[in-house]
């Protein structure tokens, strides 16, 4: 698309729905699970049968408080439940129990790391708890089936201020939120399972000369992946600019306000959604079947005490204290456990740099092979610390350390025990190395000739001989020492 000299600022706010990782639903004790046959986790409450009444899940409230506190929100002293009234088959009571004017948490912020190592702050307007709806399944042409397994599952709705101004910031915020709720154990946030869903609000502020124009806000419903989010926002920015170019006066927020759009996955574009005239008359009122919630200081404090160091704080500490690159810090803060291993190793006096190299070298490779997190490959902080210190002391070299790391994933033994058992301790006994060197010289006359000949092949041949000796030592010899003795013997 042609961009003229217009100065375009995308303005994006994001609503994120997160299903909480409770054992049971928000208002009944059916299991909160995914993927089971339809209507196998339902009861009078979540089917909305006559006479059934809701009882609130304490854990869901606590997990929400935890997210609120981690987002630096004010957690309300007093909150209540409101009914949002609208008719839909996946909403069996035809009202959703939600929070209207007194959200559980409000006025927070999420600072997100950007690829250039800087950060950006997105303000959080509010976070409130509500029940999820069931699922409408459009299997047959003429009919829709309704599965209520998801009905009444706890859903935290986190609403940002419109503080994002690029696709990168939107994705950064979404990913940081995803990482945060998983970090806190508040949600598994599995996208394929619909446990995290996005609704971006997008418009543009366009400056042409001294005049500023604002395009109508588009709200795109129910996006289920980062990819869809990325494409939707990018598409909307282009679409709105093009529409504005067509009609700079008419395509404005003052004239058109806000419209709902859906994302068409196949065509990778957003499409206008017509609304019922009464769609926004939800007739909110306090749910008379439920008691309000008072979150006093001692309760808030006890929930806050469960929150450890948050991902961004750790990311900053790693870049500053350990001098890691933004990417390395990012890789180590995917989950709390990986960094915990590193920190535990460092606490034993190990060198952070070497620890990071092992975790992001062998650790990441093994995690990749096994399709798990680095922390799950099976090396503890204590093992890593000892291994790093052995390497520092020259007791094992880098090659041996890597092998020991691999073996440690299968055993509870200490690195020293493994090194001894596998004969991987560094040999600094020069008699032994001399013997190996002599053995190699005898076995490789051609390489010896090349290495001493002074020609083009010299360097390669010397490397070859070193490698042969290292192999004989099973990696236990220090390469520098091998090379020194080899030079001596070859008279170099």
């Amino acid at each position: 698309m042609m961009r003229t000299s217009d100065d375009i600022l995308p303005v994006v706010g994001l609503e994120i729905h997160v299903e909480l990782a409770t054992a049971t639903k928000l208002f009944c004790r059916c299991r909160n699970t995914f993927g089971d046959p339809p209507n196998t986790h339902v009861c009078p409450v979540c089917i909305g049968l006559p006479g059934a009444l809701p009882v609130m899940n304490r854990r869901a409230v606590e997990l929400s408080m935890k997210v609120g506190l981690a987002l630096d929100c004010k957690v309300a002293d007093y909150t209540k439940w409101d009914r949002k009234n609208y008719y839909y088959p996946d909403l069996p009571k035809n009202y959703q129990i939600s929070q209207y004017d007194l959200p559980l948490a409000a006025d927070g912020r999420l600072e997100i790391p950007l690829s250039d190592g800087s950060t950006h702050v997105v303000r959080v307007l509010r976070a409130h708890l509500e029940e999820d709806a069931g699922k409408n399944i459009h299997a047959a042409a003429a009919h829709t089936g309704v599965d209520l397994n998801r009905s009444c599952v706890p859903l935290l709705e986190i609403v940002s201020e419109p503080d994002m101004h690029s696709v990168e910031q939107v994705l950064g915020y979404a990913r940081a939120m995803h990482r945060l709720v998983r970090w806190l154990g508040a949600s598994e946030a599995n996208m394929q399972m619909g446990q995290m869903r996005f609704e971006p609000n997008v418009n543009l502020r366009i400056k042409r000369g001294d005049v500023e124009f604002r395009t109508p806000i588009a709200e795109i419903k129910n996006l289920n992946s980062f990819r869809a989010l990325e494409r939707t926002v990018a598409f909307e920015i282009d679409r709105q600019y093009a529409a504005w170019l067509e009609d700079p006066e008419g395509f404005s927020i003052d004239k058109l306000g806000k419209q709902n759009r859906g994302y068409d996955d196949d065509r990778e574009q957003t499409v206008f959604q017509r609304e019922k005239e009464e769609a926004h008359d939800y007739r909110y009122f306090p749910d008379p079947d439920l008691a309000p919630v008072v979150m006093d200081k001692s309760w808030r404090d006890s929930v806050a005490a469960e929150i450890g160091e948050l991902p961004l704080a750790r990311w900053k500490r790693y870049t500053e204290d350990y001098s890691l690159s933004p990417e390395e810090a990012d890789a180590l803060t995917q989950d709390p456990e990986t960094g915990d291993i590193l920190d535990e190793a460092v606490d034993t006096g190990a060198d952070a740099r070497r620890g990071v190299n092992l975790l992001l070298g062998r650790g990441a490779a093994l995690a990749n092979e096994r399709g798990c997190a680095i922390a799950a490959v099976g090396v503890t902080g204590g093992q890593l610390g000892e291994l790093v210190k052995m390497q520092d002391a020259g007791e094992v070299n880098a090659t041996a350390a890597a092998r020991i790391f691999d073996i440690l994933t299968e055993t509870d033994q200490s690195p020293r025990e493994v090194a001894e058992r596998e004969g991987l301790l560094a040999v600094s006994d020069s008699n032994q190395i001399e013997q190996w060197v002599e053995q190699v010289i005898e076995a490789s006359p051609q390489a010896v000739e090349d290495a001493t000949g002074g020609g083009k092949k010299q360097k390669g041949a010397f490397g070859f001989l070193t490698g042969q000796v290292m192999q004989l030592s099973k990696g236990a010899a220090q390469p520098q020492e091998v090379q020194q003795i080899l030079r001596q013997k070859l008279g170099l």
Binding site: G51, A52, L53, P92, V146, F285
Partner: protein, 502 residues
């Protein structure tokens, strides 16, 4: 031998427990009475004959095995048909639930059965408990056993008529705005609405969530105490149920109260009250005075009845009550939409909206439609503050009135309804007039208080007159004892209609 159906629930329980009467004989006697009498009254929507007989023989078996099946052992009871039972149908007297079978039983019903009661069947009510005459029932009206040209009151009209006619020993009803107390008054029986939160609402098909409460209808106050004790108590399945201990009502009901202070509500004795009822209140006050109680006048300004120049009466409390009840109802009844249970239109529909709208148009009667629409209106954009929120504030003012009154008296005395039982059809075309008939009962619901309706005599025309005792929250014990004192002193108890003429 005495007619089993003449005995009170306490007497019958004692006789069954002592082995003088078998539970099976009691159940048979009542089922026979139902066959004989109910066709003339239509108090029942459904009778659970086989199940009742099975449960009765189970009680007999347990008694002969030396067990104690509970304080209601073998007592045959009736349930208002808005209480869910996992047996039979639960219809709320609505076409939309005509064939609805609940997969679970209401907590209050379960507790009653756990105490040994035998459920005879489900009684008629105004559709979804919305009405004061039982005429809005989709199964047709229940008739008043005292005069079958008159209504039994409502919405628990079927339960009141059944107790009055002796076709159950006692019954459960629900009271959202007077639905236990008013039909009790119209039918000459005792009706008790406990404090909000005293009895679980789990399994009571909801009308007004913040107002509904289950309670007994019975022949005398002792029977009321027996049933109240059986159904009361905290239920974790109802978030509005109060975790408070339940006193032993039956053990204390016949202990007179010393230094009782009775307040007669000034605003309730207006000229819109029938002279006969006014007379019954006055003589009840005299009876209490003769028992040593101190009787004084108290004021509930926000529950006052106003009369304009044209003679139209009005009341802030009635307006407040109907706004709250209808708003809650509009949302509570949204679930009746033909998708997951209940009636669905058989017509071809264009889309889901038409499926909803036609199903509800077919399934709901006019009174339900009126209330759902009014409630929707008061909650809708632009009206919430003027109506619903305003009503919630007035509700607090009404509540404060009661708190202030209870600083000086123990119990309030007043009428239940402004008149005796209406003639059939008398209020049918004038919903507002019907709402105004609830003028003396609705404040109690708004304030969440317990209210006891007891017979205060019979009018010159031969119809029962009700009087009401109101207490502060959780004063059930006091109210029952005060009611029992009146029964004993006045001799007005166990009124029975002459059913020969019906």
């Amino acid at each position: 031998m005495t007619d089993i159906t003449e005995l009170s629930a306490v007497e019958l329980r004692d006789a069954i427990t002592a082995g003088d009467i078998s539970a099976v004989a009691a159940a048979e006697a009542y089922l026979e009475a139902i066959d004989r009498i109910d066709p003339r009254l239509h108090a029942y929507n459904e009778v659970h004959r086989d199940r009742a007989m099975e449960r009765a023989s189970d009680i007999d078996r347990r008694l002969s095995a030396g067990e104690r099946p509970g304080p209601l052992a073998g007592v045959p009871v009736a349930l208002k048909d808005n209480l869910c039972t996992a047996y039979g149908r639960t219809t709320c007297s609505s076409a939309i639930l005509a064939d609805y079978r609940s997969p679970f039983t209401a907590t209050a019903v379960r507790k009653l059965e756990d105490a040994g009661a035998i459920v005879l069947g489900k009684t008629n009510l105004d559709e979804f408990a919305m009405g004061s005459t039982t005429e809005t029932s989709a199964t047709g009206p229940t008739l008043n056993p005292w005069d079958t040209g008159r209504v039994p009151g409502g919405s628990s009209g079927g339960s009141a008529a059944a107790v009055s006619a002796g076709i159950c020993a006692a019954a459960l009803g629900s009271d959202t705005g007077g639905s236990i107390r008013q039909p009790a008054a119209f039918c000459g029986v005792v009706g008790f609405r406990p404090t909000y939160g005293r009895v679980s609402r789990y399994g009571v098909v909801t009308y007004g969530s913040s107002l509904d409460q289950v309670g007994p209808l019975a022949r005398d106050v002792s029977d009321c105490a027996l049933l109240t004790a059986a159904i009361s108590g905290h239920d974790p399945a109802d978030s509005t149920s109060v975790p408070a201990d339940v006193p032993d009502y039956p053990a204390t009901v016949d202990t007179p109260l010393e230094n009782l202070k009775i307040g007669v509500v000034r605003e309730f004795l207006s000229d819109s009250l029938d002279a006969d009822i006014r007379q019954a209140i006055d003589s009840a006050a005299e009876t209490y005075a003769s028992l040593g109680a101190e009787v004084r006048e108290v004021s509930l300004p926000y529950s006052a009845i106003d009369r304009d120049d044209e003679g139209n009466i009005s009341s802030h409390a009635v307006a407040c009550y109907y706004i709250v009840a209808m708003a809650e109802a509009s949302s509570n009844l949204a679930r009746f939409d033909g998708v997951h249970f209940g009636h669905r239109t058989a017509e071809r529909v264009r889309d889901i909206v038409e499926l909803y709208s036609r199903t509800r148009a077919e399934g709901f009667g006019d009174e339900v439609k009126r209330r759902v629409m009014l409630g929707t209106y008061t909650l809708s954009a632009g009206y919430y503050d003027a109506y619903y929120n305003k009503a919630m504030k007035v509700r607090r003012l009404i509540h404060r009135d009661f708190e202030r009154a209870f600083e000086t008296v123990d119990v309030l005395l007043g009428p239940v309804a402004p008149t005796v039982a209406y003639r059939l059809g008398e209020k049918a075309d004038n919903p507002l007039q019907m709402y105004l008939g609830d003028i003396y009962t609705i404040s109690v619901n708004l304030a969440g208080l317990p209210g006891l309706s007891i017979p205060g005599g019979v009018s010159k025309a031969g119809l029962p007159l009700g009087i009401q005792l109101i207490g502060p929250v959780f004063s059930e014990q006091t109210l029952l004892r005060a009611g029992h004192m009146f029964e004993q002193a006045s001799g007005i108890r166990r009124l029975r209609p002459d059913l020969a003429g019906t």
